[in-house]
């Protein structure tokens, strides 16, 4: 995936001006990555931006192209004024049903008068046969919804409802998936599970997505590109790690709460009082609650502030996990530093500037990362 502004075909290209409740959303961007996150505090305009892309809200001015197709234009000229002739003078504003998008609300918004299966079929049935790229069965298999298909929707858990909502959107063969805070109403474990499914949607179906989030951890876990909004304006855009170190973002981010949400493989499930083992990159980590089968892939959460750094191999520690790692990058933001490490996967740790100086840390330094086994939380459905 390229982040170059001159990349061949942007997934979404827009300029949107929309005045709403007190301030104006005024931003312009090209999304070229498979998964783009729109990050910002509540009230920053990120959901309004998503709703403009979906056609639920009509901008006051600007233009929007999705996969090269103009879906909104305030003036009716072709995008960017490239057509000097100006074929059509009429403003364009395609309704949501003609934008070929899938939209997933924060709490699923399943149709309560239909079964899980009928929800998934709803959009599929409305797509012209020649435009169908996915069958409901494929989606049900991908999201492992088989056992739920005949069930009514009102008995589903939050995570199940969110998976059905994803399946329903995908079954309509969208060209772009728009997700509004898809994880924020879920508990930590479910969040991990849904993140894995979202990653799988991009990896296996190649349906690009734009997701709105106020959680840096989610953005880091999922997105290749991030648009940061504050009070309706773009403050930064780029890969999450780069954006994370942006001073403008530093004031918004809650770094101590930052989690590494990474995929791992179960090496050995927890048995009785014995900790389980998971493989994160090349590092085998002990964790207390490893439920599942050996070889199964799961999401693991490690808080950035729970990682301790040592320049030499420590001894006599109660912490169970001591992992050799190479420091790849340092980002100093408002008195704190985010240090990125390579352990075969990328981990971020949050440390003070003083520690950085006293330990003489610089990119390339070989260090040991120390984590208590309790800091390694395995996010798996089968947890009991």
């Amino acid at each position: 995936m390229t982040h170059s502004p001159d990349g061949p075909e942007p997934i979404v290209n827009f300029r949107i001006v929309k005045e709403f409740s007190g301030f104006t959303l005024d931003c312009e961007a090209r999304f070229t990555s498979g998964v783009t996150a729109v990050f910002g505090r509540s009230g920053s305009g990120k959901t309004t931006l998503l709703n403009c892309l979906a056609g639920m809200v009509r901008p006051d001015d600007g233009h929007i192209e999705i996969m090269g197709r103009p879906v909104y234009n305030s003036r009716g000229n072709s995008p960017g004024g490239k057509s000097p002739g100006g074929k059509s003078r009429r403003a364009t504003h395609l309704p949501p049903e003609r934008r070929r998008i899938g939209y997933v609300f924060q709490d699923g918004m399943l149709f309560p008068h239909m079964s899980v299966g009928a929800n998934i079929d709803y959009g599929h049935a409305l797509v012209a046969p020649e435009r169908r790229i996915l069958r409901p069965d494929d989606v049900i298999e991908l999201l492992e919804l088989g056992p739920l298909v005949g069930r009514p929707v009102n008995g589903l858990s939050g995570g199940e409802a969110q998976r059905v909502a994803l399946a329903r959107a995908l079954a309509a063969s969208p060209e772009l998936l728009l997700l509004d805070e898809p994880l924020s109403s879920l508990d930590a474990v479910m969040r991990g599970v849904i993140i894995r499914y979202l990653k799988r949607i991009w990896a296996e179906l190649r349906i690009p997505m734009v997701l709105v989030s106020h959680s840096l951890s989610e953005v880091m876990a999922l997105a290749e590109d991030t648009l940061v909004l504050s009070a309706g304006k773009t403050v930064a855009q780029g890969p999450p790690a780069r954006v994370l170190g942006d001073p403008a973002v530093g004031t918004m981010a809650d770094y101590p709460a930052l989690e590494n949400l990474i995929e791992a493989e179960i090496v050995q499930p927890t048995e009785g009082s014995r900790s389980g083992l998971v493989l994160v990159g090349e590092a085998t980590l002990q964790a207390p609650d490893v439920y599942g089968r050996a070889g199964e892939r799961v999401m693991v959460s490690i808080r950035a502030s729970d990682i301790i750094i040592a320049t030499g191999k420590p001894s006599g520690l109660s912490a169970r996990n001591v992992v050799p790692a190479r420091l790849t990058e340092l980002d100093a933001v408002s008195g704190r530093t985010l240090a990125y490490f390579d352990v075969g996967a990328r981990l971020v740790a949050e440390i003070t500037d003083v520690s950085v100086q006293e330990l003489g840390l610089r990119p390339g330094s070989d260090v040991y990362l120390i984590m208590k086994s309790n800091s390694v939380q395995v996010l798996n459905q089968e947890r009991t």
């Binding site: 309704p95 049903e97 918004m109 709803y122 797509v127 009514p152 959107a169």
Partner: protein
Amino acid sequence: MSSELSLLGLSLQVAVVATVMNLIPALAVSWLLVKRRMPGGFILDLLVSLPLALPPVAIGFFLLLLLGREGPFGRASQAIFGSDIVFTWFAAAIAAAIVSFPLMTRSIMVAMAGVDQRLELSARTLGAGPWRVFLTITVPLAYRGILAGLLLGFVRALSEFGATIVVAGNISGRTETLPLAVYSNILLGKDGQALKLIAITIGLAVISLAVHNWLLSRGGRREVNG
């Protein structure tokens, strides 16, 4: 007894026809006011409620002007069917429809407002146009409230008096509904007969309102399922 049965029959006929006439306009107006925030919507909102605030006798008079021999609709009816509208059971149904429209529409508006807009937007993003969303999402999710609104309108149509007597008269066997017959009996001093008819009216109203309340309580207590 046979006169009571024919009174009851005519009253039901008038009220049912009035309710059926109102169904589509009430759904359309509710949808426009609740789901489409159209410019000038407040004027439509006001118009919908107006018959509730006017004396029915005034509505009857307006109808007389419109439907009467000299009125535009009266003339059209003469030209097309060769007959009058006024002083027929159909005029009674029109009067009942107009007077019961606000109650029916306001109930349906409440029911539609209870359908989360995000459900409708979800359906839109899945490829459904506004019409399909209305039929497959809005109406099924609001149907209890819509039925309740229909019943409320039906009850109001059954008890309609003021506008009806002006535009349909009080012609025994042709336009005389239960409330009009009650009035006639009172004028004639037949209190016993009047009370008997009132009892029938109360019976109908109690049954309809009981069903109305049941629909709303069931609809409110849990989400529609399956």
